[in-house]
């Protein structure tokens, strides 16, 4: 019984982490329907930047994330203007290829600058744990999960309450209607990409103290974050959070009761199943079709 409880605790916490990693992708893939194969790469760039700040200035990774957020947002903007905007018009398939290329280039630069050896940050809490009854709650995962909740709420509030958020919702739902009130969908796209990339800073920070990372860690995270977004239903920030937790619990239970090695297959298996059976995701209802003419 305790074993189940522990598996659930781990699952929920790690699920929160997954949701955190996926936040940017919910916006780009979910709202803009752009497959950004460089999402994992951006995540790892954030990780390395947080690592660099920790190493040189002793800055706690979570605090470092607030600093790293800004250059990452700028990176997102540049990528959107130079690559995405141009290619989406020609052929969405090319965007996938080009962002994949970007991921490779990024990985290469990271390897050239920092080398291929494993790194990790080790702030005070990284191997501490809180004990609740007989359950062990690792502090690092707990902080990451809390961070996930905070970021999710912040993003959700931005979308629901600010002019920009409304413009984003409007432009993604109804581009022509949006243009009629003066919203320019292309500019909104640039903002979304910048915010999405900036938000990877927090996922990157968490990654830095939860795992040992190398430049090619990005591959694994790409598959995982795609799973979260697809399961959660495109465009729903809250859905992505729920999906992340579900994924985490599924993995945790698989590890505890089946085997560790199959656990890594859980996300990709779920993608395949969901995309073929219920493409709109587990947590969104099929949208109402507008009346035909």
């Amino acid at each position: 019984m305790i074993e189940l409880g522990q598996a659930l605790v781990f699952g929920i916490l790690i699920g929160g982490v997954y949701a955190l990693m996926a936040t940017g992708l919910t916006l780009t893939f979910g709202v803009m329907k752009i497959v950004n194969m460089a999402q994992g790469a951006f995540l790892i760039v954030s990780t390395y930047l947080c690592y660099a700040l920790w190493q040189h200035f002793g800055l706690d990774p979570i605090l470092a994330a607030f600093v790293v957020m800004l250059p990452m947002a700028a990176l997102g903007l540049v990528v959107y203007k130079l690559v995405i905007e141009r290619l989406e018009r020609i052929d969405p398939g090319l965007t996938i290829v080009a962002t994949f290329a970007l991921a490779l280039i990024t990985e290469a630069f990271l390897a050239l600058i920092w080398g291929p050896n494993q790194k990790t940050t080790t702030p005070v809490y990284f191997n501490q744990a809180i004990h609740i009854g007989q359950l062990v709650v690792p502090r690092a995962q707990l902080y990451a999960c809390l961070l996930a909740i905070v970021i999710t709420v912040a993003l959700r509030q931005t979308i629901k309450r600010t002019w920009l958020g409304h413009a984003i919702t409007a432009a993604s739902e109804n581009p022509e209607g949006a243009r009629l009130v003066g919203i320019e969908p292309a500019r909104v796209g640039a903002w979304i990409f910048a915010i999405a990339t900036g938000s990877t800073a927090f996922g990157g920070a968490a990654l830095s103290f939860l795992y040992q990372f190398t430049p090619d860690t990005q591959d694994a995270w790409l598959g995982l974050t795609l799973s979260v977004v697809i399961l959660g239903g495109l465009g729903s920030v809250a859905g992505a959070f729920a999906a992340g937790v579900l994924l985490g619990v599924a993995e945790s239970l698989t590890t505890a009761y089946v085997s560790v090695r199959w656990a890594t297959a859980v996300p990709t298996l779920l993608i395949l199943v969901v995309l073929t059976i219920r493409p709109q995701g587990l947590f969104t209802r099929l949208t109402r079709q507008d009346a035909a003419s």
Binding site: H166, L180, G182, I183, E184, R288, D290
Partner: protein, 240 residues
Amino acid sequence: MIHIEGLWAGYGGLDILRGVDLRVARGSINCVVGPNGAGKSTVLKTISGLLWPRQGSISIDGVDLTGKPPATILHAGVVQVPQRNGLFAKLTVRQNVLLGAYIHRKRRKHVEQRYDQLAQRFPLLRERPDTPAGALSGGQRRAVEFARAMMLDPKVVLLDEPTLGLDPASLAIIRDSVRAMNADGVTVLMVEQNVRFGLTLAGHATVMSAGRVALTGTADEVRDRPNLMDVFFGAVPGRT
């Protein structure tokens, strides 16, 4: 007020407007009627900057607005209520109406005051501001769209088939709203499929067919013209 000359516009290789000349007097209610494919909605789209004309010119209140982007047209005081999909289903009534003043979003106080003003005239804004627009009925949605159009205190309002999808009982409400708008000094240019409704409401009328203006005059002249259907659709054998 609105001065359109020799307008040619279309999509891809297809020309829908083939030399449209149209004049709308300040303060009037003008209705454009005609069969589908005639280009009625295309004229409105071109005025609002959603479509670039190939040839011709559009000027409003003396200002040349040909080929300008939608935001510029809005700044010039020209607002459009489109045929369909005018509102954003996921946003609330209040959010939708406020978005009407998106180009003035930096002036938060001013925008909110305007909303409160309009809530006097449109009770839905007072009573159900937090309802998602997707949950409203057709008539309610039109009312919200009209409210949103008025947020910018426009000079010209373009209405694309305001009665589309509405039951006959709602027609009277639309008629009253348009008259109220006009009483505030707004020039109205509307496209209507419901010919009788449009020509009863408007002061001036234009009949379009195959991308051109076929007939224009006061609403009474056009409406009382015998065999209007013929002008509308072309000669129908069996009826002289």
